[in-house]
């Protein structure tokens, strides 16, 4: 235990350590967010400025705006399919790699490579692969007389393309975390299950998967938040198109703010996204607090 005589002085030192961080977080992070909240109640326009109007008109407009509503569907499709693909693939590869020992462990390093590629480069690489005149995929299939459809010209195709590119770049993240979690699970459990006559597949679904569940849930939530923030992939690969088919909510906020100059309206879209993040981070923080109390 800390000796009581020291605690008052120590608490002062702790607070001295805390205030630069608090001040910096306040200035760099909280102040802009408060600014966003304030703007969302005005009618500020990049060119026309502010008429002095204050109210909830932007939020009322949100739900009559068909483009906004459809942007939510697009965002949800990108997030749901993306997170699902990344978690399933990342877990499968992690389980496979976990069994591999010896010199083939190098394979782990190779699987991580796409994780190092910056998002813009990811977007450009996959844009090149989805450009029919350029793509080696199309060239290879053409040899067999098969014409690969141009993904980026339809809504379903363009969403699929973004999900593929996102999955390529981020499933190594899921894999790394699941691999770390698997290392914490005793191999004795698998052997015990095998002795009881359970098949490997059964042992995986009955024993390993439930033990991995908390990790998988956290990883999925983290990935979900990240997919809500998709920007470079959409900007580079589709520019929100074809038409407005891939304008997810975050991208739509950018379009309204910086292309249509509707700063206040863009801010209200950002507030909507922010509430989403607030709910999910609240859940994660609660789960973390429970875990560290236990």
């Amino acid at each position: 235990m800390t000796p009581p005589r020291a605690s008052a002085a120590m608490d002062r030192t702790y607070r001295r350590m805390l205030w630069p961080a608090s001040l910096a977080v306040g200035i760099f992070a909280i102040a802009p967010l408060l600014g966003m909240l304030a703007l969302s109640f005005t009618d500020f326009h990049l060119v026309r400025g502010w008429s002095g109007k204050i109210g909830i008109h932007n939020f009322l407009r949100l739900f009559e705006d068909r483009r906004f509503v459809s942007s939510i569907y697009i965002m949800m499709a990108l997030s749901a399919f993306g997170v699902l693909a990344q978690v399933v693939l990342g877990t499968a590869i992690a389980v496979g790699l976990d069994k591999i020992v010896g010199k083939w462990r190098v394979a782990r390093g190779i699987f991580v490579v796409p994780f190092a590629v910056p998002h813009v480069a990811v977007a450009l690489i996959w844009l090149s692969l989805f450009t029919p005149t350029l793509s080696p995929i199309n060239a290879v299939f053409a040899v067999f007389g098969i014409e690969v459809p141009a993904l980026l010209t339809t809504q379903t195709g363009a969403i699929t393309a973004i999900v593929i590119a996102d999955t390529w770049a981020t499933y190594p993240f899921v894999m790394l975390i699941v691999l770390a979690a698997l290392q914490g699970i005793s191999p004795d459990l698998d052997e015990a299950a095998a002795l009881d006559g359970a098949t490997r597949v059964k042992a995986f679904f009955r024993i390993t998967l439930p033990l991995l569940y908390p990790t998988l849930l956290m990883v999925a939530l983290f990935r979900f938040i990240e997919t809500l923030k998709h920007f470079p992939l959409i900007f580079v690969m589709t520019s929100g198109g074809p038409g407005r088919a891939t304008q997810a909510t975050n991208y739509y906020a950018y379009v309204q703010t910086f292309q249509n100059s509707n700063v206040a309206y863009g801010a209200s879209i950002a507030v909507f996204l922010f509430l989403f993040a607030a709910a999910i981070s609240f859940y994660i923080a609660k789960a973390n607090a429970r875990l560290s109390d236990a």
Binding site: A92, V120, T257
Partner: protein, 276 residues
């Protein structure tokens, strides 16, 4: 217990085939960019097997002559400065959050997570308006401040998790020996938390290095970072694929040694962060 039945071997072979297929999925796009970077513009739109001898270093030369190297330098300066700033301010803060006896830590942890997860478009709109008035558009300071809104909450949150894994007794033992709290942090706690510190530093650098959105909005020509500068090779009329391939590689290469060296620490830290 070695199962040698045919069924088992088939399953095992299928497993390996699947792993190989995904290895291909991960690696082939990388191989493709490397090939693309070495192809001359004249041979770009024909399959490689039709002109297997067409190789060139022109793409690399044209990137070297362009503004791209300067943009890479801008990326280094801004991502590096923002990470240093975040570590300098964030590490003592995280230490205090972890070891100080206080009741309302839940609010702090939620706030930090929330800031880490909040959509960048929310930060950027007010920043842009203030920057226009304050003359911070297209300046290093402006970009470094903007990046700090990403890196600082991340550093505080992940160092908090790392410091939680350091036993309180270690701090108390140091204090018993008469060292000040600052000295205990610097001499005992930081060395013990080195894996977490390396991971926080590396991931925070990557956070800023990867950024596209902030740089797109608040830089112009002087301080454009590399991810935005790549887009100069994409114009409405034509796309310079060779240059883009070289630039993509140049964007990735500095990250590879960092990830390889810090891989172990990153995994430990991510695992810890996710588990709480």
């Amino acid at each position: 217990m070695r199962d040698t039945s045919t069924a088992f071997r088939v399953k095992k072979a299928l497993g390996y085939a699947m792993m190989l297929a995904f290895l291909g999925f991960s690696l082939l796009p990388v191989v493709w960019v490397v090939l693309l970077s070495l192809r001359p513009a004249t041979a770009l739109f024909e399959p490689i097997w039709e002109s297997p001898a067409a190789w060139t270093l022109d793409n690399i030369r044209s990137i070297a002559r362009s503004d791209f190297p300067a943009a890479l330098l801008n990326s280094f300066i801004t991502a590096g400065s923002s990470t240093l700033l975040a570590l300098l301010v964030g590490v003592p803060g995280a230490f205090a959050l972890s070891k100080r006896r206080a009741s309302n830590k839940f609010f702090a942890s939620w706030l930090l997570l929330l800031l880490r997860m909040a959509p960048p478009v929310g930060f950027v709109i007010p920043l842009f308006l203030v920057y226009v008035r304050a003359g911070l558009i297209d300046t290093y300071a402006g970009l470094i401040f903007a990046y700090t809104s990403l890196t600082l909450p991340f550093v505080v949150w992940s160092m908090w998790t790392s410091f939680n894994q350091i036993p309180d007794e270690l701090v108390e033992a140091g204090l018993m020996d008469g060292a000040s709290l600052g000295r205990v942090l610097w001499r005992i706690v930081i060395p013990a938390a080195r894996p977490g510190l390396v991971a926080a530093g590396v991931l925070s650098f990557l956070l800023a290095w990867n950024d596209f959105f902030f740089s797109l909005i608040i830089t112009r020509s002087d301080t454009t970072t590399a991810p935005v500068a790549v887009m100069n090779f994409v114009s409405y009329a034509s796309v310079d694929w060779g240059a883009i391939a070289v630039a993509s590689i140049a964007l990735t290469l500095p990250i590879v040694p960092i990830i390889v060296l810090a891989n172990k620490y990153i995994v430990q830290s991510l695992g810890g962060a996710v588990k709480g």
